[in-house]
Symmetry: C2
Subunit: 210 residues, 2 copies
């Protein structure tokens, strides 16, 4: 069976960077935006629109952009989002079947539950998340700290709702994860290598000395 | 400032063993039952009685054993337990001031919050905890699985209540910890060395390459 590491992460916690660095240290594939691209290719939907669904609650209504055509008609949104979720599951399952890999977000811990993945949850205090967002997102420059914090919390609320809707479990409940790591005040660069070593020891090449 | 690692743990999760092995790998002191012994020496209370208070809700009533004298009178229990908590804080603070160390349980993550400890929470699914308890506690042999599970859950309920009462925070809330590690189906021996390496990298000897 392939070795799959999934990364779920609070927005601004550095989870995506950690996933990328783990994949580098372990010499395995890394999937993140590729999942969205895969769904877009199968469904004909725009990547931005899929991102909106996957990061937000699946039962709300959005105007829909198909390819380059803007459609303002109201769709039966819930079925529609369920279809996106099904495509997402297919894409993630195919990726996981190909080779050992790190997969970031998008309910991958739940979708791959039968493949015995190692599930990591990355979180941070709000100050560290604010700092990380300021560093990486110049488009948010115009936002005040309070506004940016609100944005961060809203994105997480969306992830939690999406996860609860499709996975029927609490997104940030430690029981759904093998490891939860707090990146407050810690550069992700510093933790990636020792966590890669931990993953080797307990998951990728475990010794059988019980 | 001394380097202090605190271990909080669900009963049967192997947290105590992890603490002991981390202290060995890191070559630092390990405090566990020593805390109870310290409180006993200062207060004249029996160790077993102190254990009862520290592992259970602090506002319930127990018959009290002072030294070897059994006193059945009802004490103003809440004040009494608060005094035990104060002694416990003193003992833990003294231990933490002496040298780098690993301290297991007893609200140490909260008591030492100003010393910037690295706080680890260890947890496991109930099946793994049951197996660990069966291996280590022959006195529970007479208990059925259901009874032992009830006992395990009750001990954790007591720890949670004690923590909430004195630390005014949720005992098992990941936000109070730097690392939460799930030991389901994993021998603690296997994770101790890589976690010790992680601790060195992020806490004991961190590099300053931000």
């Amino acid at each position: 069976m392939k070795k799959i590491i999934t990364i779920s992460r609070e927005f601004g916690s550095g989870g995506r960077e950690l996933g990328k660095r783990l994949a580098e240290h372990l010499g395995i594939a890394y999937y993140d935006q590729e999942i969205i691209t895969g769904i877009a290719q199968r469904s004909g939907l725009a990547e931005e629109y899929i991102n909106n669904i996957v990061e937000k609650q699946p039962i709300s209504y959005y105007p829909i952009t198909i390819g380059r055509t803007f459609a303002s008609a109201v769709y039966p949104q819930q079925n529609f989002n369920t279809n996106v979720y099904i495509e997402q599951s297919n894409v993630i399952e195919e990726m996981a079947a190909k080779s050992d890999c790190v997969i970031v977000g998008r309910c991958s811990s739940y979708i791959l539950r039968k493949s015995d993945p190692y599930n990591v949850f990355v979180y941070s205090d709000i100050e560290s998340r604010l700092r990380r967002c300021r560093l990486r997102a110049p488009e948010d420059e115009r936002l005040s700290d309070d506004e940016l914090i609100k944005k961060i919390k809203n994105i997480d609320k969306g992830r939690a709702k999406y996860h609860r809707f499709f996975a029927e479990q609490k997104w940030d409940d430690r029981e759904n994860y093998n490891l939860c790591i707090n990146t407050s005040n810690i550069p992700v660069k510093q933790i990636a290598l020792p966590i890669a070593e931990l993953l080797k020891a307990v998951y990728i090449n475990p010794k059988n000395d019980k």
